[in-house]
Structures are given as structure tokens and as C-alpha cells.
């Protein structure tokens, strides 16, 4: 091999190494976001503004707009996604998503109905709910009333505060019911002063948390 060929081989090798390095650097800038949803949706992705309110974004700057489940390649970074149902009776979901060194699988949570829609549904359901509660706890309910009743999510969860008639000496309790096969069933057996996610792992956290924030006098 003459000297010219050696130099040529060296240059080509060097060029290949540089191409490989640049390719890896380019690849490292991006990451996959896998979006999946069981129901029709529309999702907009925005760059996070890194303000104190972690869910702030510039709504004019849409990074990605999709309405199909799939795998999308995006620059690594902090994003905010706004997922909406195609049905106007449902609330949209705004959440933070970080694309780092690992592929992110984003399973869009089920959409909740709007408060207005849930209130309309509650009017039709409240009689059946009351009957279920009084039938489950006929004696204790003589000293309690159902207050701040509310349906959650798609109307399949119900929560309320059980307020004692004697508020001085008795505790307020929290109760959750679930509609199963068209019938309401008590999901928090028994109703508790506080509802913990580890004690009731099958009940959505937001339902438990909302009820735990109700009925306690502020000191």
C-alpha cells in the first residue's frame, strides 16, 4: 500500500467517525413519545414555559397536534400536553410530560364529564344513591345527613360527606359509591373520616382527595 492510499484510508476513516459522531449527536437530541388512548381525542403539545405554575405554556406555539395514537419523534425537553375529547361534554386534560433519555409512553387518562353535565346526571341518580346509602347503614344514618354530593369522572363514581347531626361530638365521614352494572354500590366500606389511596386503591385518587378536602372546619 503506497503512502497516498494510506492517507486516503485515514481521511475516509476520520470522515466516517465524524459522520457517526454527528449522527449520534443528532439522534441524542430527539426522543419518542408514544401516545395511546382508547377513545377519540385531540392532543396539542406545547413547550413548557418553566414558570412557577408548571402547567403554563404559550398556546400560539403548538409543537405537535395529533388525533391518532402512535409514535412521534420530538426534541428532548419539557412539554405540556392538552388532550381533549371530541365530545364537548368532557373536560380537557392538561399535564406535564418530560422527554429525556427514555422513550415516554403517554396513556391519555379517561376524560371526565364537565361539572354541569355531572350535576345534571346527579339529579337523576341521587334518589337511587340515597336509597343505597340508607339501606347499607340504616342505623348509623339516623344520626347523619348526606352533604356535598357529587358525581365524578363519567358519572360512575359518587362521593359525599356524611355530616353528623351532632357536629360537636361526632366526626364527619366520607363515602364513595360506584355504579356497577347499573346499580350503585358502596366502595368505601365502611365510610371513613379520611380516605387513603392505599386503603382504597381501586378508587381514583382525585375522588378520594376531593372528598378529604371537604367537611373539615378550617381552624
Amino acid at each position: 500500500m503506497n503512502r497516498k492510499n494510506i492517507v486516503l484510508a485515514f481521511v475516509i476513516s476520520l470522515a466516517l467517525i465524524f459522520i457517526f459522531i454527528f449522527y449520534r449527536a443528532y439522534q441524542n437530541k430527539y426522543q419518542y413519545l408514544v401516545v395511546s388512548s382508547s377513545k377519540p381525542f385531540s392532543l396539542n403539545l406545547f413547550n413548557s414555559e418553566h414558570k412557577l405554575d408548571s402547567l403554563s405554556y404559550d398556546e400560539k406555539k403548538v409543537v405537535l397536534n395529533i388525533n391518532k395514537s402512535g409514535k412521534y419523534k420530538l426534541k428532548k425537553g419539557d412539554y405540556i400536553y392538552v388532550a381533549s375529547s371530541t365530545n364537548k361534554d368532557y373536560l380537557s386534560i392538561t399535564e406535564h410530560v418530560v422527554l429525556g433519555d427514555k422513550k415516554v409512553v403517554l396513556k391519555i387518562p379517561s376524560f371526565s364529564l364537565t361539572d354541569k353535565k355531572l350535576a345534571e346526571m346527579l339529579e337523576k341518580e341521587i334518589e337511587g344513591i340515597n336509597k343505597t346509602i340508607y339501606a347499607a347503614y340504616p342505623v348509623p344514618m339516623q344520626g347523619y345527613t348526606i352533604q356535598q354530593p357529587r358525581l365524578y369522572h363519567e358519572g360512575q363514581w359518587f362521593g359525599a360527606v356524611l355530616m353528623p347531626n351532632d357536629t360537636e361530638n361526632q366526626d364527619t365521614y366520607r363515602i364513595v359509591l360506584k355504579k356497577k352494572d347499573g346499580k350503585w354500590e358502596v366502595a368505601t366500606k365502611p365510610p371513613s373520616i379520611l380516605l387513603a389511596k392505599q386503603v382504597f386503591p381501586d378508587i381514583p385518587f382525585d375522588v378520594l382527595s376531593d372528598l378529604n378536602g371537604k367537611g373539615f372546619p378550617k381552624n
Partner: protein, 211 residues
């Protein structure tokens, strides 16, 4: 064939076999995590996701896997662990018969490994509890109408490998208990939904028909 040629062929075959082995091993391990199994007793049988494994070092796909360790006269232990989070799996079968205890007496090394794993289990549990519930370090809180302190969970349903904790509230009035809940929010800065809270002195108010 001359001796020299014979040697060349031998070297070439060894090289090809080595390279093939290296490439095949690398391909089969691509995308997998090296997981170390620390097993006690050391001769115990280990099943990973229902498949028997001999080696104490295995390569698994990232994510949750089920490990079962079993040994004669010992109670099997099942561990569900996400190897992407922790690639070291501690598997200790629990002695359940006199024969098992006799085995450990005769094999002090096995006994010491078992005790060591027990210690690590406890240490991990304490560490995980401290990470999951940092506010517990601020307990006890003792005030005029109530006290809040650490306690063992009574009703929490946890998956194997997870840890639960609880806070006990000592207050002999409904007013004191509601002050304790407010204190959780205002002093511990927590949403009390994240942990089981046991109100020691609260009389049971709700019971099912026939209870």
C-alpha cells in the same frame, strides 16, 4: 497440511468462534439489563416469570418481573421487582420446618447470607418509607387537643415490593381529630389521601346491616 497452515486454520477457527459467540451474546442481550440475583439458601431454585434459571446473573428486559425462590423445607418467597429501577434482586426463602432450621445450623454460611438479606430487606423498607413519606420524619406532632405519630398500617393494600406506612392520631374528641387533619395539611404540607390515617379514639360510627 504443514504445521504452519494447520496453526493458521486453528487460529482462524478460534477467532471466528470467539467473534460469533461475542456477537450472538451481544445481540441476545441487546436492550436487556444485567440483573444480579442474591439467593439464600444458595442452592435454592429460582424461577423468573415462571422459567427456571440456573445462573445468578441474568439479562432481562426493562420493567417488572416476578421472581420466586424455593427450597425444600423452606417457604417460597415471591418478589415482584422492576429491574430498571433496581437491578439487584434479593431472594430469600424462609425456613418453615425444623429440618430447615437444622439445615441452617449445619450451614452457618447460608444462615449468615439469609440474615444479611433480611437486614437488607429491612434497610430497604426503611429507606423506601423515608423516600415515599418524608414528612414522617417530622412526627410526632403533639398539641393540646391531639397527637400525630408513626404507626404500622392496618388496612393498606400493598403490592409485593411496595411499602406502606400509617399515621396514628390520638385525639379524644371530634374537634381534636379535625384539628389533626388540618395540621397534616398546614404543618406537614401533605394531602392526607397519600397515607393511611388511623384515628385511635374515634368510636366506630358506621357498620353494615347485621354486623
Amino acid at each position: 497440511m504443514t504445521n504452519k497452515k494447520y496453526l493458521y486454520w486453528l487460529v482462524a477457527i478460534v477467532l471466528i468462534v470467539t467473534i460469533t459467540f461475542f456477537v450472538a451474546t451481544n445481540i441476545s442481550r441487546r436492550g436487556k439489563i444485567k440483573v444480579d440475583l442474591i439467593v439464600a439458601p444458595s442452592k435454592a431454585e429460582v424461577l423468573i416469570d415462571g422459567k427456571y434459571v440456573k445462573s445468578k446473573t441474568v439479562y432481562l428486559k426493562p420493567g417488572e418481573h416476578t421472581f420466586v425462590v424455593s427450597f425444600e423445607n423452606f417457604e417460597s418467597t415471591k418478589v415482584v421487582q422492576d429491574v430498571s429501577v433496581n437491578p439487584e434482586v434479593l431472594l430469600a426463602a424462609v425456613p418453615k420446618t425444623d429440618s430447615a432450621r437444622e439445615y441452617l445450623l449445619k450451614n452457618p454460611e447460608e444462615n449468615s447470607i439469609l440474615e444479611k438479606i433480611g437486614g437488607i430487606y429491612q434497610e430497604n423498607a426503611n429507606k423506601k418509607t423515608a423516600e415515599s413519606y418524608p414528612f414522617l420524619s417530622e412526627l410526632p406532632i403533639e398539641q393540646r387537643y391531639f397527637a400525630i405519630y408513626n404507626g404500622a398500617p392496618l388496612r393498606s393494600k400493598v403490592k409485593n415490593g411496595d411499602f406502606a406506612a400509617a399515621m396514628y392520631v390520638k385525639a379524644d374528641s371530634a374537634y381534636g381529630r379535625s384539628l389533626a387533619v388540618n395540621s397534616m395539611r398546614n404543618e406537614l404540607n401533605i394531602d392526607p389521601t397519600v397515607i393511611e390515617v388511623y384515628f385511635q379514639d374515634a368510636p366506630p360510627a358506621f357498620w353494615e346491616k347485621g354486623e
